[in-house]
């Protein structure tokens, strides 16, 4: 009998095509290094991460993240990977390999997607880069650095030879790829996302601004270690339940640190000598200063974790609470790991959500503490686990206090604003915002000028309460809802809007300020009925004047003095030309120079 293409085959093909088209799974598993190639033997270092599946082109190139493998040092490209190829899909992505650039491309894509997802989960909304993809260049140049370039919205990773004299755990002269360090990828992508959420947080108007960028990027990178189950279980077994004693879990970028001759991780979530009350006054370099904030956050995490596992440990030890010597029971390890993972998610989520409660400009660590307390209070008004109290104590121990608050009690730290009883936003504006959110269109798109004008009008009318200048133009930087589940189980919506004003400067003034723009701004948080709940203001005055309770009024002279101080510390300044002088504050916030050697050289 002659075999021919028949009805049965047509049916098969129809079903098969439909399957290929519609029934892709929601998640795509991909292999990465949970740390870096150096940690080859550490348990869980080769991890399979689950990321949201999307249509992927060569690169990989997705909707928001695109990997471009261009090497600027040699002006050439490396062949892009096709992650949809059968042989790659079947094995959960390419196997880890230092010598195959396609694995590098896969890893930066996967880690970036994981970071993005962490943000979306915590913020309860989808994030985009305002219509521009974030471009990742895993081998952009030869050099011990990696940085985010805001102008091109790209992250550029370098590669270099490990120190020949002091290679640490690397082979002397071995090529070290910064793109194969999970932590470096997560750190840089976090810079990009934070820049997207708060575009003025790279304008260094005080000591903390750049340090905050660095700290936040480190916090997200290190917390991601806790999302790898095998890593966590191994750490709990090794640390005998105590996570603080496991170096690689809490260190940042181990191979990179060793490769540049440091004989240790680049940075760590733990302080070498414990917290010092005058650290906040004396530690000034942005990465080191940022480490204070990182340490305060992880201090909070460890205490939260300890509180969460107390009952488990008591059950496991017949009530003594003292774990016996020797290995822990695997079931107990699993339960502790699950608690550690939950505590990590909870603290990381709080850190990310707090971004919504920050002023649009001139952030400092004290503002972040208030934002953290406010964000956490929104979710857990009662603080049953005591997480908030622990957090406040961790900041206090490092000498970090918000200015202009009466005490470190919850009610003093939570932002204020409702007491002004400002008239609510129009219902139609809220309706429009919600519709656009559901449809995924930009709430402030060019087709939506009336909304922007309405918000500007609203700000002008209430300029006094918003600590803005009624005479100046107000720009609307972001207008979006945040969703959370209230204690009664219902979904609650809040609306966050950022109002920003720029004080005009003459070219002469601007040159003296090193190109730094003078901005004031207020973040307003509205309830779903449009009532003002919080006013988070950063006013700027010409002359010093007191602010209303809880608000510090900055003045131009203060910023000028700050710039003078920074000038004194700048060792390159003497050798720079006039063009640099006029842009020096802008150049100093350049992530490339800031992350130079990722802070190793400083």
């Amino acid at each position: 009998m002659q075999v021919q293409r028949g009805k049965a085959y047509d049916k098969f093909e129809r079903l098969h095509t439909a399957y290929l088209r519609d029934e892709w799974p929601d998640r795509r598993p991909l292999k990465i290094f949970a740390f870096d190639p150096l940690s080859g033997n550490t348990a869980g270092n080769i991890a399979i991460v689950d990321i949201p599946n999307e249509k992927l082109g060569l690169g990989p190139a997705g909707e928001r993240i695109k990997v471009i493998d261009y090497d600027g040092s040699y002006k050439r490209f490396y062949a892009p990977v096709n992650l949809n190829e059968g042989s790659i899909l079947m094995r959960n992505g390419l196997d880890p390999s230092e010598s195959d650039p396609r694995f590098h491309q896969q890893m930066v894509y996967a880690v970036a997607m994981r970071v993005l997802e962490n943000f979306e989960r915590a913020l309860g909304r989808s994030l985009s880069f305002r219509g521009r993809e974030l471009k990742l260049l895993p081998h952009a140049f030869r050099g011990a650095n990696a940085f985010f370039d805001p102008a091109s919205n790209s992250v550029l990773f370098g590669y270099f030879s490990a120190d020949t004299a002091n290679p640490g755990l690397n082979l002397p002269g071995q090529t070290v790829f910064s793109c194969l360090s999970h932590d470096i990828v997560a750190h840089e992508v976090t810079h990009a996302i934070l820049y997207r959420l708060r575009g003025y947080f790279n304008e260094p108007t005080n000591r903390d601004v750049l340090a905050f960028h660095e700290a936040f990027a480190d916090i997200v990178a290190i917390f991601q270690h806790f999302t790898f189950p095998d890593v966590l279980r191994d750490a709990i077994q090794k640390g005998h339940g105590n996570l603080q004693s496991v170096e690689h879990l809490l260190g940042l970028a181990r191979q990179f640190g060793h490769g540049t001759g440091k004989s240790a991780s680049l940075r760590s979530a733990l302080e070498k000598d414990g917290p010092q009350p005058d650290d906040y006054k004396t530690v000034l370099e942005p990465h080191a200063r940022g480490s204070l904030l990182v340490a305060a956050i992880f201090d909070t995490f460890f205490k939260t974790y300890q509180a969460r596992i107390q009952d488990l440990v008591r059950v496991a030890t017949g009530g003594t609470g003292r774990l016996p010597r020797g290995d822990l029971h695997p079931d107990l390890v699993g339960m502790l790991a699950s608690e550690a993972s939950k505590a990590a998610q909870s603290v990381l989520g709080m850190c990310i959500r707090a971004i919504e409660f920050l002023p649009p400009v001139d952030v400092n660590f004290g503002d972040y503490l208030r934002a953290l307390v406010t964000a956490d209070h929104e979710l857990y008004p009662e603080d049953k686990l005591g997480q908030r109290a622990v957090l406040i104590e961790a900041f206090r121990k490092r000498g970090i206090y918000p200015e202009a608050v009466r005490s470190l009690a919850d009610e003093s730290l939570i932002w204020e604003g409702a007491e002004h009883k400002l008239p609510p936003l129009k219902k139609s504006v809220i309706g429009d915002l919600m519709t656009r959110t559901v449809l995924g269109t930009d709430s402030l798109g060019s087709d939506n000028q009336p909304i922007a004008r309405y918000l500007q009008d609203w700000a002008r009318k209430h300029a006094a309460e918003l600590e803005l200048d009624p005479e100046r133009t107000t720009a609307i930087r972001g207008f979006h809802p945040i969703l959370r589940t209230g204690s009664n189980g219902r979904v609650r919506v809040d609306i966050v809007c950022q109002f920003v004003q720029e004080r005009q400067t003459t070219p002469q003034e601007l040159a003296e300020l090193g190109g730094l723009r003078l901005r004031a701004g207020t973040t307003v948080v509205f309830s779903q009925s449009g009532q003002v709940r919080y006013l988070i203001s950063k006013p700027l005055a010409d002359e010093p004047r007191p602010g209303r309770h809880g608000i510090v009024v900055r003045n131009v002279k203060g910023i000028q003095d700050f710039i003078k101080q920074i000038d004194l510390e700048d060792e390159v300044l003497a050798w720079q030309d006039a063009a640099y002088l006029e842009r020096r504050m802008v150049e100093r916030s350049n992530f490339a120079l800031l992350d130079r050697g990722l802070g190793v050289s400083s």
Binding site: Y74, Y78, A140, R142, G143, V572
Partner: protein, 409 residues
């Protein structure tokens, strides 16, 4: 303390240092030369090689055999030593002793290691610069790299040259030089330190810490290569491929890589510059009631050590003459030193010629602070036009400042 006489002669070498101290001591006259060099980027009518010839002529006046009791080279930057290149010329000068910082001691392993690292970094920077096209930051870096390159010829003169087989001394803070042929002139060595921590600060930047970006033909043997050749696709081939259209980097990214690479080289060059400056000898010459302070190009770290030390602080407090460090750059003379330590009415010498690319040298705030302190500033580029007592200007060749034994200061 007895009132003493001395003359400080500042030779005009453009952007660089060259000072001759002439100190009558009983029947004898002590001559001390501190540095002789011009920066490769210096403008101005004169340079260190002019000064070297002039110096020889000045010392040979009255047919005397030229002699210098002590030659000091504060550190190995060109703007302090380039004038010593002509070994033959300097062979005519009889020299009693040559003083160099301890980091120049060929028998000290720590010094050799440090110097090797510094020259390696300077050479690596030169290679990096060679790979790239002109970028503004690169021309700034070039000027610094040139200043730090090995400077073999002048260093050879300093280590082996001069008539009279001078003794070489390699000094560090606290070195005893009481047996030097300087009669009643007392010399205090305030820096460089040999402290571990301070030396660590002298480490040049690591040569893998900056980006290397080739503009044209990448060096075929350059290391490291990221991957085997098989993975590479060249620029034109990639751009001719339709399937890769969405992966083109675009001008913004290519430009960002290039710009940052140039900036990083500048930063590395500035760090190297700072490291070499950190090896500077800082000397105070005490003659009767005079204290002549020569800090070389010492920068902030060195100053901090000096000001934190009670003895050294009280010595610099008594300075009657101060050679402004590092041509007046903002972090080579701490403003707190000028405001809180330096005595009023001090003489301050600024050996200098304006270099267009460095508008910030000398730093206006520093000059203003000195003026506030009523310091009497002598600039080699703008010698005083009107007659000032005790100051003798010889055209654009040199400026003499005389301290007299009997006149009140």
């Amino acid at each position: 303390m007895t009132a003493a006489s001395a003359t400080v002669r500042m030779y005009n070498v453009g952007f660089g240092d060259c000072f001759l101290l002439i100190i009558p001591d009983g029947e004898a006259v002590r001559r001390i030369l501190i540095d002789c060099g011009t920066h490769p980027s210096s403008t101005g009518p004169r340079s260190a090689s002019d000064a070297a010839k002039q110096l020889l002529a000045d010392l040979s006046e009255d047919g005397a055999k030229p002699r210098i009791d002590v030659i000091v080279a504060t550190h190995r930057h060109r703007d302090h030593v380039s004038g010593f290149s002509d070994q033959k010329l300097w062979g005519k000068v009889e020299v009693g002793e040559v003083w160099l910082p301890w980091t120049e001691d060929p028998k000290n392993p720590a010094a050799v290691r440090l110097l090797n690292r510094m020259s390696r970094v300077a050479l690596a920077l030169e290679t990096a610069r060679g790979l790239m096209q002109a970028a503004p930051a690169l021309s700034l870096a070039s000027a610094l790299i040139d200043n730090s390159l090995t400077n073999e010829k002048p260093m050879l003169t300093l280590h082996e040259g001069f008539a009279g087989t001078p003794r070489r001394r390699f000094l560090s803070v606290g070195s005893d030089v009481a047996d030097a042929p300087l009669g009643s002139v007392r010399v205090h060595v305030l820096a460089p330190s040999t402290d571990e921590k301070v030396i660590r600060n002298l480490e040049p930047p690591k040569d893998q810490s900056w980006m290397l970006v080739a503009e044209d033909d990448p060096q075929p043997d350059a290391e490291p290569r990221a991957f085997d050749e098989g993975w590479a696709i060249d620029w034109d081939e990639f751009h001719a491929t339709k399937a890769f259209e969405h992966l083109r980097p675009g001008g913004q990214i290519v430009g960002a890589i290039r710009r940052v690479a140039a900036d990083e080289i500048l930063f590395a060059a500035a760090s190297l510059e700072k490291a070499v400056n950190g090896t500077s000898l800082v000397l105070a010459f005490e003659v009767g009631d005079l204290v002549l302070l020569f800090p070389g190009d010492a920068q902030w770290g060195t100053w901090q050590t000096i000001l934190d030390d009670v003895k050294m602080r009280s010595l610099v407090q008594r300075a009657t003459f101060y050679k402004i460090g590092h041509h007046g750059s903002h972090n080579a003379t701490p403003q707190s030193f000028v405001k809180d330590v330096l005595a009023p009415n001090v003489w301050a010498a600024l050996p200098f010629a304006k270099v267009e690319i460095w508008p910030n040298i000398p730093h206006p705030d520093l000059l203003a602070a000195l003026v506030d302190k009523k310091a009497r500033i002598l600039r080699s580029d703008e010698p005083p036009a009107a007659a000032i007592p005790d100051v003798t200007v010889r055209e654009d060749i040199s400026i003499d400042l005389a301290f007299h034994a009997n006149a009140g200061r």
